[in-house]
Subunit: 274 residues, 2 copies
DNA sequence: GAAATTTAAATGTCAGACTTTTAATTGTCT
DNA sequence: AGACAATTAAAAGTCTGACATTTAAATTTC
């Protein structure tokens, strides 16, 4: 478990890798202060800029935090659940959006994972969490909810379901799966009819928690998965017929299709926001 | 979903955040080239060093890759499963080791997650995967396996089990959970007797896959979880009595205990490897 | 036409200066 | 003595400009 990065990379990556190993393997412990940038640049015999680039790499992974001023410096950061969540979500989202994952595979994974907390959730759900879920369910019945709002509520509902298991590690692992799914769900649940159907499943899910009915919960999740895949198949069929109808000599369109077909924007808008 | 980082942070973090948003939201697509460092420093009105620090942050998250030379530059990176795996593992491992997670919570989460792939694994397991699992099981019976080797084999076994579900998204999400557990398992499964017991559960798991016996698989995973927790409780009891016996005025020892009690090294060894 | 050379555009690295922040220290007043 | 203000020093943050290295395209040479 040494030297995560090989040589042949640039110095800042090598240095970052060494320090990272020191943290992961416990030679540097939480809240311990690293040597100052000047000292590190001496230790590693590189310039201060190179050290700084290495430290920025670590900061990007929330492995260290920095503090300015006297008695400041770089400190080993205690990775919070919040940091871990957002890293997990970013990674999962990009993994799904960049690897043109089959939507069925994604749905299958999502509901399989959610299924894993059914027994715990049924056993431990609190009244508070149930009321969160009821509130989201009620929001979802509002017909003037935008697609984005509807999906955000869907995510909140499922996160709350996961949280019912009262296991933070489980919640952490599932957060990525649930959140990363949002853009996909966004694509497939945009008709009133599909919303209504999903809402009825959500209601059943709440009931199963209330009555601690494990089989009902598992069955409902399975139905939700199946229905999601049906919707996806229907949408994809529409997309494919659209794609075969339009000219496909635009390489950008090709690379975006079919996953992001609904996100296509005017190419002139594709620039960095400064 | 804008401006992941607020102001009040340094420029390189702000710039990294803007570019990251552009990638996540699809304004920059895979393999697209970013402007050169010089151009970016003009666009954002900062120096080249600041831009470079921002780019290093993104590189640390595998969001971009850089290439030297003419027609080189920074390119939006297609996040591979491999990259996503290792990021997930690093994050999960640190989360567990830094937040003195209750070991029961961790075990519970791990086996709940593995349980989620039981139906799929039973339905789809291939002969190839079964033979991997049998091979690892056989390795585990060798009494001269070191603790590290034994745990590595344990991880390989469980990863293979997860892979039986033939769902890459599921495998990705579970990788973190299984791998991050390794140090914990390392702490608790070091006697011959506990190894033997775990081996028998592993054998049952293989049988359940061979015969596609879902209830047996679920039951076995539950027993494995229970047994892990029993072992952990026994070990922790020993650790606690040890801790109460030694002087606790060393803040470093306190911060390491009890999770890393087996990792305690001579303080003189706690330095960066240069 | 193929091989060798040149060239230009990038990133990678370095050195040094200056700015800003921050906490400890020191000094002053009541 | 204690509270408040000014000083100071250490450290990260930023900028500038230079040079090294890499790389692919363009050019030259044979």
């Amino acid at each position: 478990m040494k030297n995560t990065q090989n040589d042949a990379t640039d110095l800042s990556a090598q240095i970052a890798s060494k320090i990272r190993d020191s943290i992961v393997e416990g030679r540097l412990i939480v809240n311990e202060r690293l040597p100052s940038e000047a000292e590190l640049s001496e230790q590693f015999s590189v310039s201060r800029s190179t050290v700084r680039e290495a430290l920025k790499r670590l900061a990007a992974q929330s492995l260290i935090r920095t503090q300015r001023g006297a008695f400041g410096g770089a400190f080993v950061n205690k990775l919070s659940y919040q940091d871990a969540y957002s890293q997990n979500i970013t990674t999962s989202t990009l993994l799904l959006s960049m690897n043109d994952i089959n939507i069925d595979v994604a749905c299958e994974a999502r509901f399989a994972l959610e299924r894993s907390c059914v027994p715990l959730a049924c056993a431990r759900r609190t009244e508070e969490q149930l009321s969160v879920m009821r509130r989201e369910l009620h929001r979802q019945t509002s017909p003037d909810l935008s697609d984005e709002e509807w999906c955000a509520s869907d995510v909140a509902f499922h996160r709350s379901f996961v949280d019912c298991a009262q296991n933070p590690v489980l919640s952490y692992q599932l957060t990525g799966a649930v959140e990363a799914m949002q853009p996909l769900m966004n694509m497939i649940t945009f008709t009133a009819r599909s919303r209504a159907k999903i809402i009825s499943h959500h209601a059943a899910l709440i009931t199963s928690l209330e009555t601690q009915d494990i089989p009902l919960a598992e069955r409902t999740l399975g139905e939700l998965a199946d229905y999601s895949m049906q919707l996806a198949a229907k949408v994809l069929a529409g997309v494919n017929s659209f794609l075969s109808a339009v000219s496909m000599d635009c390489s950008w369109c090709q690379s975006m299709a079919p996953t992001f077909i609904f996100k296509v924007v005017n190419p002139s808008e594709r620039r960095l926001e400064t």
